[in-house]
């Protein structure tokens, strides 16, 4: 199958791009610079055959609008033309895009290939060439590999091998520490199994566990009983120790009680009142002492305050408030300063006004000179006048009406002269015309004019002939001819004669007109001379006027303009002088006004000064001291007044405090007297009037009560300890139980018992813990064997899957190696024979043949140089570039072989020669053109030199170069076309 035509109707970035493939070409070179859409075009060729994939052309056109049009022709001449859309359901349409086309129609053109296979088998690009070449080098040219690689595509073979090998290695690599999946799973399995065994709970273990639980339960119970016994004992011993101490104290209390004797005690109420009274009396003694000391202190305070007031000078009371005075002084001071400031300001203003006046006078004086400078351009415009303002002003200028009159005269004289000159020219022209007409008429008249006789003779001859002819026999042609000739002759003579007469008349008319023209011309000349003279007179008048003004202007209008410029200039000069004069006047006014201001300011300053002096005098101060000194004096007065006020306040406070202290003292004395009276009354009633005795009796009553209370408390406690026989009996039984054991000994025994109990409690909790663990184990806690078994089942499933997959991949790898060997056996001889020819061409004869050679048990490929040297294809032997060429040779030989007997498909080569020099590029193209004998070959390239190399092959019509326009070119062309 060959491509005949491809049109990118709407595809990629392109619209209506057509590629026509020359029929019969062995090599199509599609050249396009970068951006010309070479890759798009290449993809479009494949898409035209196999469909527009969804990935394509999201570029410019919506999927539904993408279109490719293509024409294909098969080896047997069958043709198909169709449009390709991107629709997945109905991609094929008739060439006019109107009718849907059955996809089956295309099938016979595709050689049974799908897109991917076609791309791989009938395409080659730089990347594959490189991979193929490197593969040859790395495989050290093991023959089967090399051939198979060329057949399947080097990249594909590498991918298949990598895919199989990579997955195999991930599944299984030998070695005990292998990270491969099978090994890892096997290790995990072993680990799980060990854990499962540990977790397993067998029948024997069950029995053992149950026995252990029973034993532990018994042990825990026994420990509990023992512990409780010890705890009870410890408690009793502790109580007894306390009881022993209580009994001793009880004995002590009984002894103390008996020591008090039999004297009756005071009643409780009385005893407590007495105790309170004596306590209060004691406290009031202390209070009285403190009160007196406070009174003394207050008195001293008062004395101090009075002394301080005296020192502050209480007698000296000023008539006025010093602070108010200070404020007034400050105000006066400020007024004084302000007035002085204003005066100085006025003085400075006067100075400035005077200076301004002086400057204005100066400016006025310099005004004329500056005007001359300023109006220099205006003076220039008055050229040829030379001089200053004064001389300009002095020029005598005619009146305006005089100028007007002169101007009217000048213009009428000028126009009259011009008009006369023009009339003269016209007259002269007419004269020349008349002259030439006369000459022409005269010339026309010259020459022979037939005489009247001659004409008459001719007429007679004619008439005679006519007469004889009319009378003679009619059938004599020679006579008729004679008559005709004579008629013509006579007519000619008559015409000539008439014409000569007309010329005469013309000449005479011309001569008359000439005479008239001459006369007119003479008149015009006289008129022109007169007008010129008149104009000269007027011009002389103008000159006279100019000279009178010191100028040499020749036109009245020019003089008028000069006068106007002069007037304008003089006016402006006048204005300038007037302005400077005005400035002087204004400055003088300024000086006067400042003078007045200064007077006012001076008077104000004097007023302020005298106000201060007057005020100072009123305050008994010397105003001459100045404001600052006066303020100092006033400040001191103010301070003194403050001190006096503070001292007076301190005195008042001290007086109040002394009064309060004395009041408190009096109140205390009164309270004390009341209590003493009550004590005396009680003493009278209960102690024969003796207060001290009363106090002694009260104290005794208190002591007895305390003894009784303590004894009751202890007795109650002892009753609690000997629960069975309360009261005195309880104490007795306790005394019996204690025998002679002291409290210390008892406490020690109690602590021992407590320790023993604690120790037992620990043992018991230990036993309980073990029991809990044993019970939990029985119920199946911890690592659960069933769940571990489940995990084992999962790992086993994974292992089985992994081994199955390994087996498939391993078998596939084996099949691949077998296929490589088998392919080699089938194809080696014919393939190598063809490849060797191509290789010779590609290497420009550097190698002449390919041959196999056994090396270390493998068949390897070697290349023979013309010298006979054998070069192995490998790292040490062959350069990379040569390896690329070898791969290309093998590849093309394979393609050639593979299409034998089937429908050949176009071979698409994409920029293969980027690393080839020109000679090798040419050789490469030659080899592709060789392939072009078997099938269509389309070479895509970005590079112009590739096109040149193709042309150098001398293929003639067998070379078809298709140029792609770059985007820029295309747009330029399109916009040019639309503009045209």
């Amino acid at each position: 199958m060959r491509f005949e035509r491809l049109v990118l109707r709407r595809y990629g970035a392109f619209q209506e791009r057509t590629l026509d493939f020359a029929p019969g070409a062995r090599l199509h070179v599609v050249h396009g610079p970068n951006g010309a859409g070479k890759s798009t075009t290449l993809a479009a060729l494949r898409s035209a055959l196999f469909g527009i994939t969804a990935k394509e052309g999201a570029f410019r056109y919506a999927p539904a609008t993408r279109r490719l049009e293509v024409a294909l022709v098969r080896g047997d001449g069958e043709r198909i033309e169709f449009q390709r859309r991107s629709s997945p359901t109905q991609p094929l349409w008739s060439a006019d895009d109107a009718e849907p086309l059955d996809a089956a129609a295309l099938v016979p053109f595709l050689g049974g290939l799908d897109r991917a296979t076609y791309t791989r088998l009938f395409g080659l690009d730089q990347e594959e060439l490189r991979t193929g070449g490197e593969d040859l080098v790395e495989q050290r040219a093991e023959l089967g590999q090399a051939l198979f690689s060329a057949a399947l595509g080097a990249e594909r073979l590498a991918e298949v091998r990598d895919a199989l090998g990579g997955e195999l290695a991930a599944l299984h690599t030998p070695g005990s520490r292998s990270k491969a999946r099978v090994a890892e799973l096997t290790r995990e399995h072993a680990d799980l199994k060990r854990r499962r065994r540990d977790a397993e709970f067998s029948q024997g273990a069950l029995k053992k566990a149950r026995k252990e639980i029973r034993e532990l339960e018994a042990r825990a119970d026994a420990l509990d009983g023992e512990r409780r016994e010890h705890e009870r004992r410890a408690e009793r011993l502790t109580s007894l120790a306390a009881a022993a101490r209580d009994l001793a104290r009880l004995d002590d209390l009984v002894e103390k009680r008996s020591a008090f004797g039999e004297e009756p005690a005071l009643a409780e109420g009385v005893a407590s009142e007495v105790r309170v009274l004596f306590d209060e009396l004691k406290r009031s003694d202390v209070e009285a002492t403190e009160g007196r000391r406070a009174e003394l202190e207050r008195k001293q305070e008062l004395r101090d305050a009075r002394a301080a007031r005296t020192e502050a000078g209480d007698g000296e009371a000023s008539g006025s408030d010093p602070e108010a005075d200070r404020r007034m002084l400050a105000q006066l001071g400020r007024a004084l300063v302000q007035a002085a400031g204003r005066r100085e300001e006025a003085e400075r203003a006067l100075e400035r006004a005077r200076a301004a006046h002086a400057r204005a006078v100066e400016t006025h004086a310099a005004a004329p000179a500056r005007a001359a400078e300023e109006f220099a351009a205006d003076f220039d415009a008055l050229s040829p006048f030379r001089g200053g303002l004064e001389s300009l002003r002095a020029v005598r200028v005619p009146s305006e009406s005089a100028f007007e009159q002169l101007s009217v005269r000048e213009s009428s004289a000028e126009s009259a002269a011009e008009s006369a000159a023009r009339s003269l020219e016209e007259a002269e022209e007419k004269e020349r015309a008349a002259l030439s007409r006369t000459e022409r008429a005269r010339a026309a008249v010259g020459g022979d004019v037939p005489s009247a006789e001659a004409v008459s003779d001719a007429r007679d001859a004619r008439d005679r002939a006519l007469e004889s002819a009319l009378s003679a026999e009619p059938s004599r042609p020679e006579r008729v001819l004679e008559v005709a000739r004579l008629v013509a002759e006579a007519d000619g003579l008559i015409d000539e004669r008439l014409a000569a007469g007309a010329g005469e008349a013309e000449l005479r008319l011309a001569e008359r007109e000439e005479a008239q023209a001459r006369a007119a011309c003479w008149r015009a000349r006289a008129e022109a001379a007169a007008r010129t003279d008149e104009r000269e007179v007027v011009r002389a008048d103008v000159r006279t006027a100019a000279n009178s003004m010191g100028l040499d202007h020749a036109s009245a209008a020019g003089l008028a303009a000069w006068c106007a410029r002069r007037s304008a200039l003089l006016e402006r000069a006048r204005d300038a002088l007037a302005r400077t004069q005005e400035a002087i006047d204004a400055a003088r006014d300024g000086v006067e006004s400042c003078d007045v201001d200064l007077g006012v300011a001076r008077r104000a300053a004097e007023r302020a000064s005298s106000a201060l002096a007057e005020w100072s005098h009123e305050r008994g101060l010397d105003g001459a001291l100045g404001v600052d000194a006066l303020d100092e004096i006033l400040a001191e007065r103010a301070q003194r007044a403050t001190r006096v006020r503070a001292a007076s306040e301190a005195v008042a406070l001290a007086e109040r405090r002394l009064g309060a202290a004395q009041e408190r003292l009096a109140a205390q004395a009164e309270g004390r007297a009341e209590r003493e009276a009550r004590v005396a009354a009680l003493a009278e009633e209960h102690a024969s009037g003796d207060a001290e005795l009363l106090r002694a009796r009260s104290e005794r009553a208190d002591a007895l009560r305390a003894l009784d209370d303590e004894r009751a408390t202890i007795t109650a406690r002892l009753d609690d300890v000997s629960a069975e026989s309360p009261g005195e009996d309880g104490a007795a039984s306790l005394r019996a139980e204690l025998a002679d054991r002291g409290p210390a000994e008892l406490s020690e025994s109690a602590a021992e018992a407590k320790n023993a109990a604690e120790h037992l409690a620990e043992e018991r909790s230990d036993a309980r813990e073990r029991l809990g663990r044993a019970r939990q184990a029985l119920e199946g806690g911890g690592d659960d064997a069933a769940s571990l078994e489940g995990q084992l089942a999962q790992v086993e499933a994974e292992l089985e899957t992994a081994v199955e997959r390994f087996s498939v991949l391993h078998t596939a790898e084996h099949l691949l190696e077998r296929e490589i060997r088998s392919y080699r056996e089938r194809s080696q001889a014919p393939l190598l024979a063809r490849a060797q020819e191509l290789f010779r061409t590609l290497t420009l004869g550097s190698f002449e043949s390919l041959q196999t050679d056994e090396e270390k048990g493998r068949d390897v490929l070697k290349a023979r140089r013309p010298s006979g040297e054998l070069v192995p294809v490998g790292m040490s032997g062959m350069s990379e570039g040569t390896a690329y060429q070898l791969y290309l040779a093998l590849r093309i030989a394979t393609v050639e072989r593979s299409i034998r007997g089937v429908e050949p498909m176009p071979f698409l080569a994409d920029d293969l020669f980027t690393t080839f020099d020109d000679d090798r590029t040419r050789a490469g193209l030659e080899v592709l053109a060789e392939l072009g004998r078997s099938t269509q070959v389309v070479v895509f390239t970005h590079h112009r030199p590739v096109v040149e190399s193709a042309r150098e092959l001398g293929l003639g019509d067998a070379l078809d170069v298709i140029e792609l326009e770059s985007e820029v070119e295309r747009e330029t062309r399109q916009s040019g076309a639309s503009a045209g």
Partner: protein
């Protein structure tokens, strides 16, 4: 509660408590927690059903435990379940199957009062007068019982409902060892009313009357071949006649196998869409249970090559498809059984165009086969004994040849990893 001649009983068998669910490879996101304790959960469901339906009897026809299971926790746990049944007033009858006979663990277990087990020396009959029922049965004394036990079963007792309890493979079932073989005729001839059988894991009503012969199946499927709703048979007897033998579902994890036809799928994503839909439907069918499912991709499709080249990815994608299903799904295995279409095959007489075709039909000479088998055997030798026992190198190799050819052909024919045309 029942009365003489009218009562209900639950017939179950093959509980295999604590035996693991097999064949579930782990993967990221697989619901591992839900798998645990599935067999126990099914037994819990059995007890709950018995109580809920207030059945009078529970008959368990063998294989309560797995033979080689030594962990006694399983026994202790089962004891508790039995106690629950007894407490609920249910009579329970057990029979040792081949697994129980082999189990060292179950021997030491004491049965609660009210649970009766058929002895193994000779057939034994238990009668319950209040229900008018007699149960005849004989336990396995050891794992391998190759005698026809049914022959020695006693004659039916007149006037009562006679139930024969027997652990048997009948005349033989695929995937089940042949134990206590007997024929249906043997059983029919006995003249009982109901044969409560055990051993075969698929539910089957061998006869639906005169007498009824029923395999209830196991209550919990344990691997990919035990698919569908699993449970026990609830039998209603009225006036000495079976009026209903109803299958009641008890499983905690449901096994299923779905086939997804790739025919007509436009691309892999389209195919995965079908997988998702099928998984979702299957998951809904499992009614909230965890679904353990084997997915087989089949049918003729141009995608065959792509699927085979990227089998690992497809495997992961299919497993991930389970995450989108209505309930929880564990994809047990993804089987690739697709074939290529004619259009995707390469034709041509000579040269490389024929490579894929050639490899598709490639044979394996004996010497190659032996070498490959030996290499495989070396790997198998390194596997744990449990796995080794299940893998036969030669069989494995033979089953690998087809997929290996298809894989290689797919690699030869399809687009490579670096083949990409953007059309730009």
């Amino acid at each position: 509660m029942g009365s003489p001649g009218s009562f209900r009983f639950l017939h179950a068998a093959d509980l295999h408590i604590d035996s693991p669910l097999r064949g579930l490879a782990r993967y990221e996101g697989a619901p591992a927690e839900r798998i645990r304790g599935a067999t126990r959960e099914a037994v819990d469901n059995l007890v709950a059903l018995a109580k809920q339906e207030s059945v009078d009897l529970v008959v368990i026809a063998g294989d309560v435990f797995d033979g080689d299971w030594k962990d006694v926790h399983a026994g202790l746990w089962f004891q508790k379940r039995l106690e629950e049944l007894v407490d609920a007033g249910t009579e329970v009858f057990l029979l040792r199957g081949n697994h129980d006979a082999a189990s060292t663990m179950s021997k030491g277990l004491a049965l609660p009062d009210g649970v009766r087990r058929f002895r193994d020396k000779a057939p034994e009959t238990h009668r319950i007068e209040s229900l008018g029922v007699a149960l005849h049965g004989q336990s396995f004394a050891q794992r391998e019982v190759t005698d026809n036990l049914s022959i020695a079963y006693p004659e039916p007792i007149a006037g009562v409902f006679n139930i024969g309890v027997l652990h048997t493979s009948l005349a033989g079932y695929e995937g089940h060892d042949s134990y206590a073989p007997c024929s249906v005729a043997d059983l029919v001839q006995k003249g009982y009313d109901y044969w409560a059988l055990g051993h075969v894991h698929g539910r089957e009503v061998v006869r639906d009357g005169d007498p009824w012969i029923v395999f209830p199946g196991n209550p919990q499927g344990r691997h990919a071949r035990e698919t569908g709703p699993k449970g026990a048979t609830l039998v209603t007897v009225e006036d000495g006649e079976v009026i209903e033998a109803e299958h009641r579902v008890l499983d905690a994890v449901r096994w299923a196998a779905i086939e997804v036809d790739a025919h007509g799928a436009r691309n892999v994503e389209d195919l995965l869409g079908r997988v998702r839909a099928e998984l979702d439907a299957a998951s809904r069918g499992a009614a909230g249970r965890l679904l353990a499912v084997r997915v087989t991709l089949c049918g003729a499709t141009p995608l065959d090559g792509e699927l085979r080249r990227s089998e690992e990815r497809i495997d992961a994608e299919v497993r991930a498809s389970g995450f989108a299903a209505a309930g929880e799904v564990w994809v047990e295995k993804v089987r690739l059984r697709t074939t290529g279409t004619e259009a995707s095959r390469i034709r041509g007489e000579a040269g490389f165009a024929a490579l894929a075709d050639r490899v598709r039909d490639a044979g394996l000479p004996d010497e190659d086969r032996e070498r490959l088998a030996a290499e495989l055997a070396a790997l198998v030798q390194r596997l744990p004994a449990e796995v080794r026992a299940r893998v036969d190198s030669t069989e494995l190799l033979d089953s690998s040849l087809g997929p290996a050819r298809a894989l290689l052909a797919a690699h030869f024919a399809g687009p490579g990893l670096s083949d990409s045309e953007d059309g730009r």
